[in-house]
Symmetry: C2
Subunit: 206 residues, 2 copies
């Protein structure tokens, strides 16, 4: 079974091969050139431009999905974690930029929620409106604020499917105290999507 062109999985072991029992998730090393861990990113636009630079470089350097995200402390503007889309490079459909950023932020803080008692308020700033998976993940992440750039319509124009997200989905998050900020630097965000299209990037969930 499995793909006939794949190496055959041993049928004599009781468990999966070790190499397949763990998944590693990381950003590419070049994100260190863009993320400034000392800076106070003071406005939504400054925060978004970091997310956009991550998205842009992800296309230019790796030909990967045109999506980037960053987690900040809302009040201080200090950066906690960043994430770029790693679906194709790491063969993992869950690795949208927001997901990578959430996981790295929680690992850094040693907490499964960024909204634990005593923590400063956290927010996610993402280059494009989150898909259904990432919107759900936003709720579980513990952030209190979600800021996005390009819209679902902008992404759909590239044939990226955003999944089952409805106006009621956002109401659900807002009811639970998550502030939604839409369309920050939208034109710049759309330009990154267009850059990807112009380079014939793979639409991996179309």
């Amino acid at each position: 079974m499995i793909l006939s062109s794949e190496p055959k999985i041993s049928s004599t072991t009781e468990t999966m091969p070790d190499a397949h029992r763990m998944v590693q998730i990381a950003n590419p090393s070049w994100v260190a050139e863009l993320a400034d861990w000392e800076r106070q990113y003071s406005s939504d636009e400054e925060r978004m431009r970091l997310a956009l630079s991550l998205a842009r470089e992800n296309v230019l350097r790796d030909g990967a999905g045109p999506f980037g995200a960053a987690i900040f402390e809302s009040d201080t503007g200090m950066l906690v974690a960043v994430g770029v889309n790693r679906v194709v490079p790491l063969n993992n459909s869950a690795l949208h930029g927001e997901m990578v950023a959430f996981m790295l932020a929680q690992a850094r803080l040693g907490s499964y929620t960024l909204g634990a008692p005593g923590m400063p308020r956290h927010e996610v700033v993402t280059s494009c409106e989150p898909c259904a998976m990432c919107l759900g993940a936003t709720l579980w992440s513990g952030v209190r604020r979600l800021v996005w750039g390009a819209s679902r319509e902008d992404a759909t124009r590239l044939n990226f499917d955003e999944g089952p997200v409805f106006p009621e989905s956002y109401e659900y998050l807002e009811t639970r105290g998550i502030e939604i900020v839409r369309g920050v630097c939208r034109e710049e965000s759309r330009a990154v999507l267009e850059l990807y299209r112009s380079r014939s990037g793979e639409i991996y969930n179309g």
Copy 2:
């Protein structure tokens, strides 16, 4: 910044500390005792009972979330990957059982989709109705079939939040060719949720 009780992040480095630049995801080692990689799980009930045994042992051995999932080849019933909820043990709010199973299945097959040309059809069988994140992830995973046991209402009774999932969400998946099978072994699935409640398990997204 960060939690005052946490070790201070060095302020002299340009990048995040190495330990926080990567996330590792794995099942606990005991799943090897439950998963049979040689067997053909021939019915929905057989497949569900594996997911339920994973969920149950996750509670009994680790006090972790009462949720388990497995990926199968639909036609042969061969097991491809399993996942248990690792939110609390690994400090990662994305690690619902379905997410772990999707990621390990894709790693094993070396593909960001389980629906690539030439692959057999895959399905996910999960002990409880997926939350909003996992329903979105199901769409991106490439499975063609989603089978669940306990319902959203059963989970909500334990104060687990399932997020913004609506009837239209399922229609969205069905329109894209994903078959939904509801309530398989529901009473046994509910019993696992009750087991968790009886042991005063943490409701980590309530």
